[in-house]
């Protein structure tokens, strides 16, 4: 059992929780993820790490309410317990002094960028973060990235222009490249379509680019193959070979199709759950 020690609704869609998980806190590194199972009937949900406190033995995650499980998780309050918190899962991001690194986060991918940017900065890189959201109300992690991670530049974009730059993260990246900025590495975390666009932009410029994939996972221990994805012509498992891969090698079309496999079922579960919960938590 893992107690929730803090909970904060950051906006209509996103919630931050802090849970007790001393073993995970001790070992987890940027780029790795965890798997939680709320209760006996729950599914195994992969979530990425936002922050950790080794001394307190806690970790923090930010999740977006999408399906039934995340809606349910959002009803958990401080003091409630989560049945399983497993991790760290996946491989850690390689952190070293590359020179200049651009970290790009889309929506709920932004919290994952925070520990990455921080570690890259501490390793001596010049770090530029580009973070994109649909609209102003959904912007998160701005002060953390700016002040805690102490990055060199932070660009925020919103699709509707209600905050920061109007447009997509890819527009900022294009401008950076056009301005002849020397970029040694791009690291993107977000919706697959965003990662694909980023990969397409950096490829002709030979900028090494890494992406962190959000495939469907079941056990996340390399046992089921649910998260299989074609990388460089080979089949890889996002759970144990990734989640990070060379963006220029990933077959994004396949990824984008596969992640819709259970969409219909997810909608069914969410609808039923909302009915049962009287729509109180929308």
């Amino acid at each position: 059992m893992h107690k929730i020690t803090e909970k904060e609704r950051m906006n209509e869609e996103m919630t931050r929780i802090e849970v007790e998980a001393p073993l995970v806190a001790k070992k987890i590194k940027p780029g790795q993820f965890i798997v939680i199972r709320m209760h006996e009937k729950g599914e195994r949900i992969p979530l990425t790490l936002y922050k950790k406190d080794e001394e307190e033995g806690t970790i923090q995650m930010i999740f977006q309410k999408v399906g039934k499980s995340t809606h349910e998780l959002d009803t958990y309050e401080e003091g409630d317990e989560i049945l399983d918190v497993v991790g760290p899962m996946g491989t850690a991001a390689e952190i070293k002094d590359y020179g200049t690194v651009v970290c790009i986060g889309g929506g709920v991918g932004t919290p994952e960028v925070f520990p990455l940017a921080k570690a890259l900065k501490e390793a001596g890189n010049e770090v530029i973060v580009v973070s994109g959201f649909r609209t102003k109300d959904l912007v998160i992690c701005e002060p953390e990235i700016e002040q805690d991670a102490c990055v060199d530049e932070l660009h925020i974009t919103t699709d509707d222009g209600s905050y920061g730059r109007e447009g997509f993260t890819s527009h900022v990246l294009e401008e950076l490249i056009e301005s002849d900025k020397e970029i040694d590495l791009v690291h993107a975390v977000g919706p697959p379509i965003m990662m694909k666009v980023i990969a397409d932009i950096t490829e002709p410029h030979d900028i090494p680019t890494r992406v962190s994939l959000n495939s469907i996972m079941l056990d996340a221990t390399g046992m089921c193959g649910s998260c299989r994805v074609e990388v460089g012509g080979d089949m890889k498992l996002a759970c144990v070979d990734g989640p990070e891969f060379d963006a220029h090698e990933v077959n994004f079309e396949e990824l984008m199709q596969r992640i819709t496999m259970f969409e219909e079922k997810e909608e069914e579960a969410l609808e039923r759950w909302k009915e049962e919960h009287g729509g109180c938590c929308q």
Partner: protein, 459 residues
């Protein structure tokens, strides 16, 4: 056949009834039936059945005890050799082991040893026969077991019985290995597994779930805190076919298909959160136990279910009972049939499987005829779901991160045949992780042998 040459039939639920749920198929013997079946035993002098059993259970002894109505004694006999008889009684390929060599088989049906074993264990569970196990004098040495499948559990039980301090480290959130995530409940109910595992609790074995050695805890850490280690991580990584369309939606590895349904209870979705896609017609590629389990699970999910197999049914490596049950339930066996490609629609969903006909050649080295694909026989059949059940291999998460532990090219852990030690001092291994996918009882046999070696090593 005169009556005593025939087995006492095991009551079973009818195929029409059982395809609608995940409850167990054979109901098991009543005490009277069990005694009658046991009394068929000739009590022959040579007892070949013992040699036919990979863990050398004293079969004539426990069968005699059943015949005499001494069920408690029969249980004690079984437990001396096998800590999970309710499980092996259900899943062992008895027809290739003890029952194959039964002398009674020369004149009629061999004794139904499997069902008798199951009877004793079930009777004991239902009538609270079991006593707290005796533990030898407590010892200080600590042993870590990696993996809670039949091999790890057997090794743990034997070491604990001998007084050692045993801790099991398991990657998943529940213990049992393939017994839990792979074999469906209609063959092996979860409460039966849980009951058998309680025995470990009584022996004082500590269980730590969600510990993936090589991922969130290192072998080195285990070594620091234990005097010996037994690695029984199984062969849990699915093999894929490597041909076109394998990544289409609706195409599952057997592991994913069965784990969703069994471990995560997708058949009870949406009461349970883990989903599985709706299916109308399922093609299961392969014909072993795993394939039978997938095909029969598909039926229970309401689908039409086909086994697509390159050879003929007689060459299926599955237990006879599973093939029999699958046929009764209406699984269709499309034999001499070789899938070559998956075709999908524009949204990436499986639509068709491209198949070729096959012909069998003379038996090869393994005694099984090899299939040859006949060109010009290409045809497609509509399927919305495919399950790939062509085998599993060891999961690399352990061996790629286990310093000092050498493996073969395909990932099987290398051990010294005599000492069962790996190339790393104090680290032993067995079960599917060493042999590749095999059987429950062989994995258990390895666990016993390893426990003996570990005790010698620690002395």
């Amino acid at each position: 056949m005169s009556p005593e040459e025939e087995r006492i039939k095991v009551p079973e639920r009818s195929p029409e009834e059982r395809v609608n749920d995940f409850h167990e198929v054979p109901l098991g013997y009543t005490p009277e039936q069990a005694m009658e079946e046991a009394q068929r035993c000739l009590e022959c002098a040579k007892s070949p059945c013992i040699g036919g059993c990979p863990v050398e259970i004293d079969i004539p002894k426990f069968v005699k005890q059943i015949a005499d109505g001494e069920f408690q004694e029969a249980l004690e006999t079984l437990k001396e050799f096998n800590c999970i008889p309710a499980i092996t009684g259900r899943v062992c390929p008895q027809e290739e082991q003890c029952e194959e060599v039964c002398v009674m088989g020369n004149v009629g049906d061999p004794i139904n040893i499997g069902k008798l074993e199951r009877f004793v264990a079930d009777y004991a569970r239902e009538n609270d026969l079991e006593e707290t196990p005796e533990i030898e004098e407590t010892k200080e040495e600590r042993v870590a077991i990696v993996g809670s499948g039949p091999s790890g559990v057997t090794c743990a039980a034997m070491l604990a019985q001998n007084g050692y301090q045993v801790t099991i480290f398991e990657a998943l959130h529940e213990p049992g290995g393939v017994l839990k995530y792979g074999i469906p409940e209609f063959r092996l109910p979860n409460d039966v597994i849980d009951h058998e595992l309680e025995y470990l609790d009584e022996l004082g074995v500590e269980m730590r779930m969600n510990r993936i050695v090589g991922q969130n805890i290192e072998l080195k850490e285990l070594k620091d805190e234990h005097d010996a280690i037994y690695v029984a991580t199984g062969a849990g990584s699915p093999r894929f076919l490597g041909f076109e369309g394998e990544d289409l939606k609706g195409v599952y590895s057997a592991n994913e298909f069965l784990t969703r349904i069994n471990l995560m209870k997708a058949y009870k979705f949406p009461e349970y959160d883990t989903p599985i896609t709706d299916m109308e017609k399922v093609g299961v590629i392969g014909a072993g136990n795993v394939a039978m389990d997938a095909a029969r699970s598909a039926l229970r999910m309401g689908a039409e279910s086909h086994i697509l197999y390159r050879r003929t049914t007689e060459w299926s490596p599955a237990r006879d009972e599973e093939v029999e049950h699958a046929k009764q339930e209406g699984v269709q066996f499309d034999t001499l049939c070789n899938p070559k490609k998956f075709k999908g629609d524009e949204d990436g969903w499986l639509e068709e499987i491209v198949l070729y006909e096959c012909e069998l050649e003379e038996p090869g080295e393994d005694g099984r005829p090899s299939p040859t694909v006949l060109e010009d026989t290409e045809h497609s059949e509509e399927f919305d779901t495919a399950v790939i059940a062509i085998g599993q291999q060891p999961n690399k998460v352990f061996y790629e991160n286990a310093e000092g532990v050498d493996v073969k090219e395909w990932g099987g852990i290398i051990i010294d045949e005599d000492t069962r030690m790996t190339t790393e001092e104090g680290v032993f291994a067995g079960g599917d992780a060493v042999s590749g996918a095999a059987t429950v009882i062989l994995a258990m046999g390895d666990g016993r042998e390893a426990a003996k070696s570990i005790m010698e090593y620690l002395e």
